[in-house]
Symmetry: C2
Subunit: 397 residues, 2 copies
């Protein structure tokens, strides 16, 4: 058999491992005794319109049409609705004929990377990054070049980034709002990043694609805005998922789009279609395709995440933890009070607090705390966080 695949199956991601542990642990000692902050599973229900639209589709549509194959790229009316929405909302300049519906953001990424990369190519990732990026990129035979972000702001460190480009750099993959830090790439960062990419592309006379993975686009707090990257760089692919915005992560629905301004955009799109085919995707789940036009621009009640963030952030600071104040997503990035974040996470686990150490995100010394949990869980977990802080001699602020 394939040994790499066996290993990937035996050693689940640290996040999935903790998530599975949490499920077992809750069964052992009770739901209310385990404080699981491990996974990015939206805790806010899908908007009521999702339920209503699904029931309407099931009631009013011919089941042969509703559940039948769509074109591999996705139903054309759905793709047109998405293009119209993006052009209206972000002046994105996208084209329905260059949108490919997928089974969620992970599919968008594996399809995009398979379409673009050849063995030996290099993919620049800005660390910390979602650990599956490495799995997805390396499966194509490409090499991951991990570039640490500025540890104060979690914006790119441009000096380090500039030195990371080589003749083999084919893709820069960005994720804003970021998992695990919550950081949003500012417009100033985008402009510097794009200038670097343009410069390297010109100097090396080789294409360099920007892949923007943005399942958290709508999850931003305060005044932050998330620049739409097709407006800044021609060779851009946007990977999107409705998992977080509509609280549908299990349903697997999203898309990838190729900017019409990209060099050889039609060829890149053909490669996307080819990769989707070769990986066995056939088409995105049809019922959930037809749901999308009615739900564009709609989100679950995100105020709950905003309130969770404030509550948890304040609570942890009060305990004496150093918390990175994030602009987006539903994660807090918290500095480990000892250099070994895995040891810190283990100690937290002994208090039934499930936190993901940052090492698996390609960055040492932090834990990721998902606050997409019932607000009540944050309140009930506070004594355990306090105990944890005290065990390190941290002082209340």
């Amino acid at each position: 058999m394939n040994e790499k695949m066996r290993e990937l199956g035996c050693h689940r991601s640290a996040i999935r491992e903790l998530f599975e542990y949490g499920k077992r642990r809750r069964a052992e000692i009770g739901d209310d005794k385990v404080f699981d902050f491990s996974i990015g599973n939206p805790s806010v229900p899908a908007p009521e319109r999702v339920r209503k639209t699904l029931i309407r589709l099931l009631t009013e549509t011919d089941p042969v049409a509703l559940h039948g194959y769509t074109s591999a790229q996705g139903d054309p009316t759905v793709r047109t609705a998405i293009a119209d929405y993006l052009n209206r909302a972000y002046d994105a300049g996208v084209d329905a004929n260059l949108i490919y519906l997928t089974a969620g953001a992970a599919a968008s990424l594996t399809i995009s990377l398979t379409a673009l990369l050849n063995p030996g190519d290099e993919v620049i990732l800005l660390a910390p990054f979602f650990p599956e990026y490495r799995v997805f990129a390396e499966r194509t035979g490409a090499k991951v070049v991990s570039v640490p972000a500025d540890p104060g702001t979690f914006q790119p460190d441009f000096a380090v980034l500039a030195a990371a480009f080589t003749d083999r750099t084919r893709v820069v993959l960005v994720n804003s709002p970021n998992n695990p830090t919550g950081a949003v790439l500012t417009e100033a960062s985008v402009k510097r990043l794009v200038a670097l990419m343009e410069e390297n592309r010109a100097k090396r006379k080789k294409p360099i694609w920007l892949i923007s993975d943005e399942p958290y686009r709508e999850l931003v707090w305060g005044d932050a805005t998330v620049p739409y990257l097709t407006r800044y760089y021609a060779d851009t692919l946007v990977c999107y998922s409705f998992s977080k915005s509509l609280s549908l992560p299990g349903e697997r629905i999203g898309y990838v789009l190729v900017s019409p301004r990209a060099d050889h955009a039609a060829d890149v799109y053909a490669a996307i279609c080819g990769a989707g085919r070769a990986l066995g995707y056939v088409c995105a789940p049809s019922l959930f395709q037809y749901l999308i036009p009615d739900c564009l621009g709609l989100t679950s009640d995100l105020t709950i995440y905003r309130d969770n963030r404030a509550l948890l952030s304040r609570g942890l600071r009060d305990c004496g933890f150093r918390v990175v104040e994030p602009d987006g997503a539903f994660y807090l990035f918290v500095e480990s009070p000892e250099p070994d974040a895995t040891a810190f996470a283990e100690r937290a686990k002994s208090l039934e607090l499930l936190l993901v150490p940052s090492d698996s995100f390609g960055c040492a010394g932090f834990v990721r705390i998902s606050y997409c949990v019932p607000t009540d869980q944050i309140r009930r977990a506070m004594p355990a966080f306090r105990k944890l802080a005290e065990s390190y001699g941290l002082k209340r602020a």
Copy 2:
């Protein structure tokens, strides 16, 4: 970009190409003027219980649970229900812990092949075969060894098959009932196939896996039964989809299972989990996972296909065509009256009959006619089939 992927995207499968042509052509000259027999898109609606169960789930289940991530392998209660059903219905001897829910049969296959194969390995396919098998196998770096079936019965030609095994043979992939011929592997054929595989495994001291792709399991006509292959060979993986039995091809729901009798079954299963992860599958669509326990053993109204088959088969014979009488699936395999099946299919196309030439299935001289179409379409297409037959000087039987 990746040139192979671009090519796969530019040159769609002959089936998909015809399907897309059919959609365009219908828009041009009207739905009732085009006789599209190209694609295996079930024409019979999903059973009413599917609609009722989906609406009940949407009405009664907490949306956070219903639409949330499941374990990557799929919800455990769903996997248990499937194992119980298979053990009851087929005495299959399978285990819920070795079932992995997937986004349909294509996903089951790409995941299984990625889990088992390394570059340079060989996969034996019995021709004619579903053309995407080649795409899925070759993407892993493996080599396809195509072994023609007996052209009279479309059972394996065991003399040719015996000569096809080498030290690099890792997988034999069978599909029964077969797409495109409709042939069902008889128990006698299964026993001879398994004996050959055992013999080669012992002689070469190398593992050889049997992958059984069986989305058409329930679509059998007359007295044919479809042997359950875990009962005959230890190192068996079964790939299944609910696409055809429940008429849900667009929803992408199926599974792959590893026989508990397989050598290193737990490792093979781990490799399946690793491959699902690396290809970006995350989990099978959750709403449709939860549908399954209520629908095991249920099928759409298959009598319509049986009647279509009889009507089309008789009609084509009356025109003078030679028709292979299939035991299963919803395809007729019809001999081309000229050696070049593509030329025959082109002439059919000029009469608005969309038939898939057999060349893309790895076998010359036939066309595949999908009879999962409205019965009325078969009746209305008959004058065109008659014209087509007459253009070749075929005589009414």
